[in-house]
Symmetry: C2
Subunit: 431 residues, 2 copies
C-alpha cells in the first residue's frame, strides 16, 4: 500500500485541527535554532527519500496523462531530481530568514503604572488550500514551521500522491528532531466536503490562505467562517506618461519594461493586463505594440489606440468593455488612451488593486500616482513583475495578498505572525 492508501480512512478534519492546535502550542515557544534544525531535516529528507517521492509523483503524472490533462498542466505537476533539489534548496533558504517570532516592542509605562509591550507570536494554525504544483506543499510547510505555525495542507487532487509522499517526508523529518509530526498535516481525502469542513473550523484554525484561481478564492470567501487571506487575483495597469517618451532612450526603456511586464511570465498575477497610454505619448504606441506583437502578444485596443495602430500598420483587435478590469493570465493585453494622469488615476481607482505602474519623468506626477493609487504595490519606472516576495526582499512568499486586512502584497514569515499584548504590573487595579 502507498502512503495515500494507508491513510484513506484517516482521521476527520476536526481531528486534524485538534492535532494541529496541540502541535502549534509546541511550535510557538520554540527557539529559532530548533526551527532551523527542523528545516534542515526536511531538506535532508527530500534528498534522501527522492526515489519514493518521484514514484508517488509518477502515479500522479500517469493519472493526469490518462485523464487527458493538457500538457502544460501535466508539466506543472511533474517532479524530477532537479526539481526536488530546488525544493530542498528553497527550504534551506527559508531557514536562513530572520525569525520574527519573539520580537518585542519597547515597554511603555502607562499612567496607571503598568508597563505594556507587544510581542510577536505565530498565528497558530494555518489552513492552506492550493492547486497543482507539489512544491507548494514543501514551501508552505517550511514557512509554517519557521514562523512557528502548524499547517494543514490541501493540494489539488491531481497531485494527491505526491503531496501525501511529501507530507510523510516532512512529518518524519519533524519527528527526527523531536517535534510533533502533526505540525504539518496533508489532507489525503480529495473530497470537496473536506475543504468545506476545513473552512468552517474557526475554533481551531486561525487563517485560511488559498492559492489558486479566482474560483478557489471565491469558494473560500463565500464558505469560510475562518478568516481568509485573499490574494493572487488582480488587474495590473501600467500608465505611460508623455514625459517618459521624449528621448529615444526612454522610449526604449518603456518598450523593455512593458515587454517584461507582459511577456516574461504571462501566467503570473503580477503580469501586465492593461496599458494606459497618455494621449500625448501616442507616438510611441506603434513601437511598443510592434515589440509586443513580435513576442506573441495580442493587443485589444480602444478606438483611439486602434486608429494609431491602424495608421502604423500594426494589427490589434478592438477592445470590448470586458477587456478592461480583466486579469488575462495569457499573452493578451488591453490598451486604452487616457487624457493624462487624472484619467489614468480614475481608471485605476475603478479597476486596480494588485500592482500598478507609472512610467514618468515628472516628480510631481510620480508623487501623485504613489499617493493616490490604492493597490498592494505601486511601482515607479520599473516592471510590475517585482511585486514578488523574493524581489521585494522578503526571501520567500506563501502567497500574495490583495486584500487589505492583516497583510498586503507578498506574505513571508512576518505575515504569518501576529502580536499579543504583555502587561506587567505590581498590583495595579483599574480605577
Amino acid at each position: 500500500m502507498t502512503a495515500l492508501d494507508e491513510r484513506a480512512l484517516q482521521t476527520s478534519i476536526r481531528d486534524l485541527g485538534v492535532q494541529a492546535r496541540a502541535a502549534g502550542r509546541v511550535l510557538r515557544s520554540l527557539p529559532s535554532e530548533r526551527k532551523v534544525a527542523a528545516l534542515h531535516a526536511i531538506a535532508a529528507g527530500l534528498r534522501e527519500r527522492h526515489a519514493e517521492i518521484l514514484t508517488a509523483n509518477a502515479r500522479d503524472v500517469e493519472a493526469a496523462v490518462s485523464s487527458g490533462l493538457p500538457d502544460a498542466m501535466v508539466a506543472r505537476l511533474k517532479l524530477d531530481a532537479r526539481a526536488l533539489e530546488t525544493i530542498a534548496a528553497d527550504v534551506l533558504a527559508v531557514s536562513r530568514l530572520p525569525d520574527p517570532v519573539g520580537e518585542t516592542t519597547p515597554e511603555a509605562m502607562q499612567p496607571s503604572g503598568i508597563r505594556v509591550a507587544t510581542r510577536r507570536v505565530p498565528l497558530g494554525v494555518l489552513g492552506v488550500i492550493y492547486e497543482s504544483r507539489p512544491n507548494v506543499t514543501v514551501d508552505v510547510a517550511a514557512l509554517g514551521v519557521m514562523s512557528g505555525n502548524a499547517v494543514i495542507l490541501r493540494g489539488g487532487k491531481e497531485t494527491i500522491h505526491s503531496n501525501a509522499s511529501l507530507g510523510d517526508v516532512v512529518a518524519a523529518a519533524l519527528a527526527s528532531v523531536g517535534l510533533p509530526p502533526t505540525a504539518v498535516q496533508v489532507i489525503r481525502d480529495p473530497a470537496r466536503e473536506r475543504v468545506l469542513e476545513l473552512l468552517k473550523l474557526d475554533d481551531l484554525v486561525d487563517a485560511i490562505i488559498p492559492r489558486g484561481g479566482a474560483g478557489l478564492h471565491r469558494f473560500c470567501v463565500e464558505n469560510a467562517t475562518v478568516p481568509v487571506i485573499v490574494g493572487g487575483i488582480g488587474v495590473v495597469h501600467l500608465y505611460l506618461d508623455h514625459s517618459f517618451t521624449h528621448t529615444a532612450e526612454d522610449v526604449q526603456t518603456a518598450v523593455q519594461i512593458i515587454r517584461n511586464a507582459k511577456v516574461q511570465k504571462p501566467s503570473a498575477c503580477n503580469a501586465l493586463d492593461t496599458l494606459l497610454i497618455d494621449r500625448a505619448a501616442l507616438d510611441s504606441l506603434p513601437v511598443i505594440a510592434r515589440d509586443l506583437a513580435a513576442h506573441g502578444v495580442t493587443l485589444r485596443a480602444d478606438p483611439d489606440a486602434q486608429a494609431v495602430l491602424d495608421a502604423a500598420g500594426v494589427s490589434a483587435q478592438p477592445a470590448q468593455d470586458a477587456d478592461f478590469g480583466t486579469e488575462f493570465l495569457a499573452l493578451t493585453a488591453s490598451v486604452k488612451v487616457v487624457a493624462g494622469l487624472d484619467e489614468a488615476l480614475d481608471f485605476i481607482a475603478a479597476h486596480g488593486n494588485h500592482t500598478d505602474v507609472i512610467l514618468s519623468r515628472d516628480p510631481a506626477q510620480i508623487d501623485r500616482f504613489v499617493q493616490d493609487v490604492d493597490s498592494a504595490a505601486v511601482v515607479v519606472n520599473a516592471s510590475p513583475r517585482f511585486n514578488d516576495g523574493g524581489q521585494l526582499g522578503l526571501g520567500a512568499e506563501v502567497a500574495i495578498s490583495t486584500q487589505k486586512l492583516h497583510a498586503r502584497g507578498p506574505m513571508a514569515l512576518r505575515e504569518l505572525t501576529t502580536t499579543k499584548w504583555v502587561v506587567m504590573g505590581n498590583g495595579q487595579v483599574r480605577g
Copy 2:
C-alpha cells in the same frame, strides 16, 4: 418629517458603498490638519445641535419604554446634555492622537536596483455594526475620519432616530470643512436584510467590525464575504500561584485585583470569568471568596474549592462543566483548583483567547506564563481590566479584536490602516 423619515427610501446599500468608496479616495490623501479640522467641526456640531439630537433620542427612549425594554437597556441608549458633551470631548481626544497614515519604512535597495518601502495607508471603507449605545456612532465616525477611512454605520434599531440625527450632524460637519459628507453614512433602514447586503459588499467594503454580543459576531462571521474582525467575546482567566500568597500584603493585593477584575464592570469583555487557584494557595481562597461575596458575586466552585469554602463557611454553588470556558458578563465567576502552573496553562490553552492573568512572585513562572499563553493580552500581577485601548496607551478604541489576523486586542487608529508597497526604479525589468 424627521431626518429618519426623509431618508426612509434612501439609496441602496450598494449605493452607500459606492459613495463611501469615492469618499474614501478623498480621505486617504488628506493631510492630518484637515482630518483634525473635521473632528473639531464634528465636536462643534454636537454642541450646537444638541437640542435636535436630544429630541431624536427622546423618540428612541419613548419607543424603548413603551416596548417594555428593561430599564438597564433604556439607560444605555439615553442621551443627555452631559453625555453629549462627553461624546464631543472624546472626538477632540481622537483628534489629538498621532496620525499613522503616511508613515513610511526606510527604503531598502534590492539586488535588482529597485528601492522598496512600505507606506501606511487607510483600509478604505469600514462597515461597523453595533448594538445600543448611540455614542458608538460618533466614536467610530471620529476614528474612521482620523484614520482616513470612510465608514458605513449600522446601529441597533433601538437607537435608530438618535443615530440618524448624529449622522446628520457628522455629515454636515464634514461638508462644512469641504469634505464629502458621505465619508460617514448611517444605514437608516432597520431591516436585517440591509445588514446582509453590507456583509456581502466585498468589492466595496474592506472590513466589517461588529461590536456587540456573541450572536452578532457569529452572524457576521457566517454571512460575510467582506473580511470580519471579530472581537469582544472571550473568557478571562486569573491564575493565582501560591508564591503570591506568602505574605498578608500579597494576599490583600490578590483580593483587590480579583475584586477589580470581577466587580468593577462585570458587563465588560475583560472582566474575570474563571479563577484558577493553585492547590498550594487554597488557604487564601476563603478571604478572596468572602470579599467577592460581599460585592455581590456568586461563585461556582469545583469540588475541591467547594470543600475548602464549605469548611470556611463561605457559600458557593457547585460548578457545572459549562461554567468553565464561559463568559459570564455578570457578577458570577467560576473557581477551579489546579495542581500548579502546568495545569493552569493547559486549561487556558483549552479555554482562553481574550485576557489571562497570572499572580505570581516567581520570575521563571511569569516568563513561562507570558510565553505560553496565547491570548490577545497576557497580564502579570495586575487586573485584566487593563486590556482596553485607553489603558494600554492607544487613546481610544473602535473594538477589541480577539482574532489573530490583522489586529489583536484594542483597535485604535493604527489598526484601521494597512500598508502598500512602493517600488522606485529607473528602468529595471525582472531577469
